[in-house]
């Protein structure tokens, strides 16, 4: 048994003995609702408790939030920037389509 596998087994045994502790797979199922602020208070406490004791899930949650922020920030920037000039072919096509209507 490798060190990583042994470490996970020990973690599983330890965490399983803690009342109300969820697994990483259960934590994962809570992520989207936690992000959306849709967890009930007991669920939120279980989520936070698992995260406090599980470094991979803590990092996974931080990375999830950063990935969303990167996507949002990228397009917000694109929306703020001046767009490239419109191809006159598109202008002509739109005007022609309007005349044909």
């Amino acid at each position: 048994m490798g060190a990583g596998r042994l470490g996970r087994r020990l973690k599983a045994v330890t965490m399983r003995r803690m009342p109300g502790m969820i697994t990483c797979a259960e934590f994962e199922r809570f992520v989207v609702d936690h992000y959306e602020g849709a967890l009930s208070e007991p669920e939120r406490r279980r989520f936070e408790r698992h995260m406090a004791l599980c470094p991979p899930c803590r990092v996974s949650w931080q990375s999830y939030r950063k990935a969303v922020a990167l996507g949002r920030g990228l397009f917000a920037e694109e929306d703020r920037d001046a767009p490239a000039p419109v191809d006159e072919g598109l202008v002509a096509a739109v005007l022609a389509a309007r005349r044909d209507e």
Partner: protein, 212 residues
Amino acid sequence: MARAVPSDASADEAGAERSGDAALLARLRAGDEAAFAELVRTHGGRMLAVARRYLDSEDAAQDCVQEAFMSAFKSLDRFEGRSSLATWLHRITVNAALQVLRRRSHKDEVAIEPWMPSFDEQGFLEGPTVVTAADAEDLLARDDVRAEVRAAIDRLPLSYRNVLLLRDIEGLSIKEVAEMLELTENNAKVRLHRARTALKKQLEPLLNAGAL
């Protein structure tokens, strides 16, 4: 669809935009050909950028913008000026892009499963244990990061990418996303989570502190 006015837009700028919109709108309603050309030149570039987010080819994006303009022209009399012309046209473009996608019998060409986390038989996860301290704004100052984030979003299967764009970029609620895409709310939420997870997985080399 609620789209926020950019936070750095001053009241003066917003007022000038509305006043310019009103003048252009009056000419459009009067059937002034030059006003239609001006509308396309002023807003077409931004609309094309929006259409490219949803559609996978330049031709499809151009057709979508053309359809969006035709739809806007037909609705000019119903435009009440509650939002700016830019916001109104943005919304029409997103709707036109979604209509294009609905007409296609689309099958995702890329599987999302390889980007999903895997758990051991006990339900526990092994993964990175460090994440960069840099915030998104700092990271996005780098050209390579912007290119990678864009590429990662573009690599998502369309049916997942669209949920992510509508929720995280357009700011629709999950209920609104579900209605627009004709999904159940739960299905929309599952797709949103998987899309964000796939984005995160692809960006791990950037988000892992050791890589910066």
